[in-house]
């Protein structure tokens, strides 16, 4: 194999490569860490129509339509995105497919970038679809190809489960060729594709039968890898947990499962009978373990030895098996934390400075701006899920009878994802509340993906942009105001006016994300007019520090947005007028 056929690839890039090699032509997803780069990488292949859907539900429905149309289709999302897409997913699990349909879900063990650590394998089992779980970048590519073969052979949606450490690790991947596929002709079949009660009852029976068939067949599949070593200890594991367990206990026997639903029962029974003590090592919930125990197979160690929370490590497993923990003669417990911050130049900083100053009650949402919950602005009361800010503000208003100094705040992409239905509800059900949409022209936190309001599609081509103001008006909101979030006095006046108004209102703060437009690049400087009042510290800018007891602007971190000068009551901060390299 020539050098060029072996490349270092991110797990997520390997998924995209595998999809391309498998002949996929349609990808529809919503961005979400750690799944985002799959669709970004897929968008670079000319043969693939890759798109950002407004939310995961639409993504899955689009992929399902493409499957019916006879193409191989993919929809990618983070774990919580699968909750949004659960509705089409659970019934597509009944109807089955035409062209292969893989739903790729990436969990976030350790909550690196998420609001929970939910284990998507339960979704897959509950819906009744096969779940494949790769353990490194090469397997990401290999398993997605296999997933399409399984999808078409057994007429089922396949759930491909990744997580942060699989999706965001790079490894060497051997590339293959793309297999072009003929579109499988669509045939109308109401008994299969119309999930009305009479049909659904039959589809459910068919689904149970195919799962039983897969459970039997998969006992012979290579992806379930029996590695016999010291037979006194046998370990059943899958995904990333395999890597840690294998590093920790290289000499014992392993059953590495590539498919975790349905479990290959006969294979597991056979393995269990050939080893002394059986252990199940899986990150997350006791998904494999509880099923094995329910079959009456004795398990010596599972979640009683290994945590449900966070990520595993080889050391953790070594210690659970009685090895002494590595000794440290170095104590760094006094290292202060370094929580993430809104970027220098971030447009959200202006608004949250005002909301912090006014001590406004803020129903927050999911995005970069969630960081404003942290000091110094500390200006967020809640974060639940995509779009929840609006629904929660509405319910709170009905419970307390008051909307005083209260707002719902969410980003443009989050609003289009699932905030819009909440706003329709507010309008329809008599809210007098205020919603603030942070329109920064991009989906920020996940790494600057386009969205239906940004004017470009996933391939970077021009696309129609939703007019947020007109959209809100069409929902029945009479008072929709636009403002630059850096015009602090104007922002304060408008927030005051709209939150006091006895009618529903929307404020749209308009300023592009600092990462997508060129910033002035001319750093600010604190002059000798500074009276050390520290007002500039209250905006939480990463470029402002205290040195020798006084605030300074660190030039290499300042982008020259000038917000600090706007909050300074003594005009003590000004532009250096000199560009920083």
């Amino acid at each position: 194999m020539s050098e060029k056929n072996r490349q270092i690839m991110l797990g997520n890039e390997a998924f995209a490569r595998g999809a391309w090699e498998a002949g996929v032509t349609v990808v529809s997803s919503y961005p979400g860490t750690p799944s985002t780069e799959v669709t970004e990488a897929a968008a670079k292949y000319d043969e693939i129509h890759a798109e950002w859907a407004p939310n995961e539900k639409v993504g899955v429905e689009t992929a399902m339509g493409a499957s019916l149309g006879g193409a191989r289709a993919l929809s990618c999302m983070k774990h919580v995105g699968l909750n949004v897409a659960a509705d089409p997913f659970y019934t597509a699990a009944y109807t089955g497919v035409n062209g292969g349909f893989v739903l790729l879900v990436a969990d976030d063990n350790g909550c690196h970038s998420s609001q929970n650590e939910q284990d998507s394998r339960y979704h897959g089992r509950s819906a009744g679809v096969p779940i494949l779980e790769p353990a490194d970048a090469q397997e990401c590519k290999d398993y997605i190809r296999l997933a399409y073969d399984i999808s078409e052979k057994y007429d089922t949606v396949v759930l491909l489960r990744s997580n942060t450490r699989i999706s965001h690790s790079r490894g060497i991947v051997e590339l293959g060729e793309r297999t072009e596929r003929e579109i499988i002709p669509y045939e109308k079949n109401v008994n299969k594709y119309v999930a009305m009660p009479a049909m659904a009852r039959k589809l459910h029976v068919a689904q149970e039968e195919r799962l039983a068939q897969i459970a039997a067949d998969s006992c012979e599949w290579d992806i379930n890898d029996v590695q016999m070593g010291d037979e006194s200890i046998g370990i059943i594991t899958s995904g990333i947990a395999y890597q840690y367990a294998k590093d920790a206990l290289p000499d014992v026997s392993f059953l590495k499962l590539g498919i975790v639903n349905p479990l290959p029962k006969a294979l597991i029974r056979d393995f269990a009978s050939n080893v002394g003590k059986l252990y199940v090592i899986e990150e997350g919930d006791p998904f494999i373990e509880e099923q094995i125990r329910s079959w009456g197979i004795p398990v010596t160690g599972g979640k009683d030895m290994f945590t449900i929370q966070g990520e595993y490590s080889a050391n953790m497993i070594r210690e659970a098996f009685g090895e002494d923990p590595a000794e440290h003669d170095v104590d760094v417990s006094d290292a202060p934390g370094r929580p993430p911050l809104l970027c220098a130049g971030c447009p959200h900083r202006g608004l949250f400075h005002v909301l912090s100053k006014k001590k406004t009650r803020v129903f927050g949402d999911i995005g970069c701006y969630t960081l404003s919950a942290l000091p110094p602005t500390s200006s967020m009361d809640t974060t639940l899920c995509m779009g929840a800010s609006i629904g929660m503000a509405h319910g709170f208003e009905w419970a307390t009878g008051s909307k005083e100094n209260t707002v719902a705040v969410l980003g443009d992409s989050t609003f289009l994802h699932s905030g819009i239905t909440g706003l329709i509800n507010m309008s329809y059900n008599g809210s007098k509340g205020t919603v603030i949409i942070l329109d920064n022209r991009i989906t920020g936190m996940t790494g600057h993906q386009q969205n239906p309001a940004s004017g470009k599609n996933a391939k970077g081509e021009p696309a129609p942009a939703v007019d947020l103001k007109e959209l809100c008006q069409a929902c029945g909101v009479k008072h929709v105001v636009e403002v630059d979030p850096f015009e602090l006095e104007e922002v304060e006046r408008i927030v005051e006016e709209e939150t006091s108004r006895d009618e529903l209102s929307v404020i749209i703060t308009k300023r592009p994300c600092a990462m997508i437009v060129k910033q002035p690049g001319i750093p600010m400087v604190v002059t000798d007019r500074c009276r050390n009042c520290r007002m500039c510290m209250k905006i939480g800018c990463p470029a402002i520090e205290i040195k020798d007891g006084r605030p300074i602007v660190v030039p290499e971190r300042c982008v020259g947005c000038g917000l600090c000068a706007r909050v300074c009551p003594f005009d003590a901060i000004e532009s250096t007028g000199k560009e920083e390299k």
């Binding site: 050098e3 072996r6 490349q7 270092i8 860490t33 750690p34 985002t36 780069e37 690196h112 970038s113 490194d136 450490r165 965001h168 690790s169 790079r170 490894g171 060497i172 990333i240 890597q243 840690y244 294998k246 590093d247 990520e311 490590s313 080889a314 050391n315 590595a326 440290h328 003669d329 170095v330 760094v332 006094d334 290292a335 202060p336 934390g337 370094r338 929580p339 993430p340 911050l341 809104l342 970027c343 970069c368 960081l371 942290l374 000091p375 110094p376 936190m445 996940t446 790494g447 510290m537 939480g540 990463p542 402002i544 520090e545 205290i546 290499e556 971190r557 390299k581």
Partner: protein, 190 residues
């Protein structure tokens, strides 16, 4: 041959390029390699770490365990300190002496560790603490800190001068190739 390299810094400092260069060098020389990195929320000015594991055998877990790093490349002092327990006894620490105060320190909610520099010296077998940022700026861009640090650490790594130059040419954007090559060489002399 097994070399574990931990690259630590603050989100936005450009730690990712360093790991991409190392990964491709390892690939070209026929080693197995795995890299694990941080995306998403922590990239916004938070503490970031990239694990690079290079071996002539198959690499399993992508993460370096505590006490297993042969080399730490630190883009910032506090991050060098935070990740010090990961350094192998007698390992090499290359640290850019820049200090980026985290928000709890800026706000006076937490102190900067008093014995930071002393701890770095005591733990590491070899400490090279220098102003990589200044060198990078002299070369033309503060973004070249990563290549300056790689230049300094190159003496501990099994890759030839030609291989380094080739990988910089291949993986760095066109206009910045010469600047990065120069920054790498300045790092070697540091």
């Amino acid at each position: 041959m097994k070399t574990n390299i931990l690259i630590v810094g603050v989100g936005g400092q450009g730690t990712l390029l360093a790991s991409v260069l190392l990964g491709n060098l390892a690939l070209e020389d026929g080693y197995d390699v795995k890299l694990s990195e941080v995306h998403g929320m922590s990239q916004r000015g938070g503490s970031v770490v990239t694990h690079v594991k290079i071996s002539d055998e198959k690499v399993g877990a992508p993460l370096i365990e505590e006490g297993e790093a042969d080399i730490i490349l630190a883009f910032e002092q506090l991050e060098a300190y935070r990740w010090l327990p990961w350094l192998k006894e007698g390992g090499s620490l290359y640290v850019n002496v820049q200090q980026i105060l985290p928000m709890p320190v800026v706000l006076g909610d937490a102190p900067w560790p008093e014995n930071l520099e002393e701890a770095l010296k005591q733990r590491a077998g070899k400490v090279k603490a220098f102003n990589a940022l200044e060198i990078a700026e002299e070369c033309g861009s503060d973004k070249a800190v990563n290549v300056v640090l790689l230049g300094a650490a190159a003496r501990d790594l099994p890759f030839s001068e030609e291989a380094w130059m080739r990988v910089i040419s291949e993986k760095v954007k066109g206009n910045f190739v010469e600047m990065n090559k120069f920054a790498f060489q300045r790092g070697q002399q540091a």
